[in-house]
């Protein structure tokens, strides 16, 4: 969905839903997911509707996911090697 202008100087490995993926170092978790084209990043708890990062500045909470076991705004955390990310998706589109 998004690409890097120029080459990424460094990549880090994070675990996304149990699968190891390589993402650019020094970017937010939300930016990394947009780079991977992984949207939607969550299904809403009310109707199960698909959502993805929206404001990227910590105000809208649309990018919330589980980072090392805690629900956090993905736009407010930088990627770190070995980070465990879990998207709050439900398989069949029903509410969580």
């Amino acid at each position: 969905m998004f690409r890097l202008l120029g080459e990424a100087s460094q990549q880090v490995l994070v675990e996304l839903d149990g699968v190891e993926v390589s993402v650019p170092a020094g970017v937010s978790v939300a930016a990394a997911l947009l780079y991977l084209g992984r949207i939607p990043t969550r299904h809403s708890p009310v109707t199960g509707a698909a959502r993805a990062p929206f404001c990227m500045m910590g105000a809208c909470f649309e990018c919330v996911l589980e980072i090392d076991g805690v629900s956090e705004r993905a736009c407010q955390r930088q990627v770190e090697a070995g980070m465990q990310l879990r998207l709050q998706l439900c398989g069949d589109g029903e509410a969580l």
């Binding site: 969905m1 998004f2 690409r3 890097l4 202008l5 120029g6 650019p24 020094g26 970017v27 937010s28 930016a31 947009l34 780079y35 949207i39 939607p40 990043t41 809403s44 009310v46 109707t47 509707a49 698909a50 959502r51 993805a52 990062p53 929206f54 404001c55 990227m56 500045m57 910590g58 105000a59 809208c60 909470f61 649309e62 919330v64 980072i67 090392d68 076991g69 805690v70 956090e72 705004r73 736009c75 407010q76 930088q78």
Partner: protein, 465 residues
């Protein structure tokens, strides 16, 4: 009372916060600056001295201007706490922070709130879909991650930032599918009476013309006076539809970036109990302040765009005024010196603000955008539609805060930041057709997420190990 940790706490390290902090610090005030980002600069100058971009000039020279401001800030004699969010502000000057995953509270004699602005919500049917983002988000991705869309986006809405983003994308070699502008024709006529004053800030006008002509040269499909926007798609955005010059249009796109101006971030000042008022010119709430930026709560100041939208240059100057006043009230700057030093700051600030009435009325948000159709999600978090709020307002519900209790609209994680404006408009119109606003949500902490573990002061489980 607890001994204060600081004589001044500044919340936010954008232009207003950086200026306020260093002006006070250089006059001997013991200052700490709390900021949520990794680097100083705020959203406007984000990553300006730590840019991942190989060629930072794609963002334009106004962005580069911030580099010097950040560098002087970095050398100022003050404590700067990055990656630190403020979740609590008390009128006594007690501030609850989560600093790198640990909670603590700080007590200050004075607080300057300089937390900037947020995008004005732009609700229409489908605005919550995955693949719809704000224009500000597009800029943040460029500034902080050197990322641009790999498929041509549609840019929709109204305001200088929409055109600036288009211009920056063009410079970065990004194709733009279309610009769908919702700016209203009649607004332009009423803006003309502010034009003479705007000439005092003609550099802004020239910059605007530059953006427009570059976008024209790029031959991007540009739809003007568009209305009835809607976005479609199931798991991801697929297309945007709208009406333009009497014709229905549909553009297939995986990415849509929205903007219709910015509004002050009111949360901290409202939580601290500062009085506010509706600014009809800017169509938003703002904290009531004296000439130095002090609010109705003694010792609590608001500066920069958090106090009213004036742009980065005015924010830098407004921050200085608040910093001077704090130094004066602490007895570190005599009144005559304060006034002499403030004089040139005020006149420069007035010059930058001269453009605002023109911009505010040129880009005035039309009635159809303020009051979206029934099927629109007013509240993205709790998924409350405009129809539900309208029904409550007709049934005699007393206002936004009662409707919040009835529907949970405003109780979700964003805490009303993206539904408050819509709620207020619906209730205002129900009360009287020409009433501009109907009060706003009561704001309560936590203003930012804090875990029970962090609150209890236990060992942090999140950011270590």
């Amino acid at each position: 009372m607890t001994t204060p940790d600081y004589q001044l706490l500044v919340i936010g390290a954008g232009p207003a916060g950086m200026a306020a902090a260093q002006v006070a610090a250089h006059r001997g005030v013991k200052v700490a600056v709390l900021d949520e980002q990794l680097h100083p600069g705020g959203q406007i100058y984000r990553n300006v001295d730590a840019s991942p971009l190989a060629d930072i000039s794609v963002l334009g020279k106004d962005y580069l201007h911030g580099r010097q401001l950040v560098q002087t800030f970095r050398h100022a004699p003050l404590d700067y706490l990055a990656s630190c969010s403020v979740w609590y502000l008390d009128r006594s000057g007690e501030v609850g922070i989560v600093d790198n995953g640990r909670h603590r509270s700080l007590v200050a004699q004075n607080v300057i709130i300089a937390c900037g602005a947020q995008e004005r919500p732009m609700p229409f049917p489908g605005w919550e879909k995955a693949g719809v983002m704000t224009a500000g988000a597009g800029q943040i991705l460029m500034k902080s991650a050197a990322m641009v869309p790999d498929e041509a986006p549609v840019l929709a809405g109204s305001g200088p930032l929409l055109l600036l983003l288009a211009w920056q994308y063009l410079r970065a070699g990004v194709k733009i599918r279309a610009i769908v502008e919702t700016t209203q024709r009649q607004a332009r006529w009423s803006a003309l009476r502010h034009f003479p004053r705007a000439l005092a800030a003609s550099d802004y006008l020239f910059k605007g013309l530059q953006l427009v002509s570059a976008i024209r040269r790029a031959r991007i499909p540009w739809y003007r006076q568009a209305s009835e926007l809607s976005a479609e798609g199931d798991e991801r955005l697929q297309a945007i539809s709208f009406r333009c010059k009497g014709r229905q249009q549909r553009i297939a796109t995986p990415l849509l970036m929205l903007h219709q101006g910015v509004i002050p971030s009111l949360q901290l000042a409202a939580a601290a109990g500062c009085d506010d008022r509706w600014n009809e010119g800017q169509q938003c709430w703002q904290t009531q302040l004296d000439d130095w930026g002090e609010s109705s709560q003694p010792g609590i100041y608001v500066a920069g765009d958090a106090a009213g939208i004036g742009g980065a240059r005015a924010a830098w100057l407004g921050g200085q005024l608040a910093g001077l006043q704090v130094a004066h009230k602490l007895g570190m700057l005599a009144q005559e010196q304060r006034d002499v030093q403030a004089q040139s700051v005020r006149s420069a600030c007035d010059r930058h603000l001269a453009i605002r009435p023109f911009l505010d009325s040129w880009y005035r948000i039309g009635e159809d955008r303020l009051l979206p159709p029934d099927e629109t999600l007013a509240c993205r978090c709790e998924e409350v539609t405009v129809a539900e709020l309208r029904a409550l307002s007709r049934q005699g519900c007393s206002g936004p805060n009662q409707a919040k209790a009835f529907t949970r609209c405003g109780m979700g994680p964003c805490q009303g930041r993206f539904c408050g404006a819509t709620m207020e408009q619906i209730f205002a119109r129900q009360a009287a057709p020409d009433r501009p606003a109907a009060g706003h949500f009561t704001v309560r902490p936590p203003l930012k997420p804090v875990t029970l573990g962090q609150l209890a002061g236990g060992a942090d489980q999140t950011h270590e190990g």
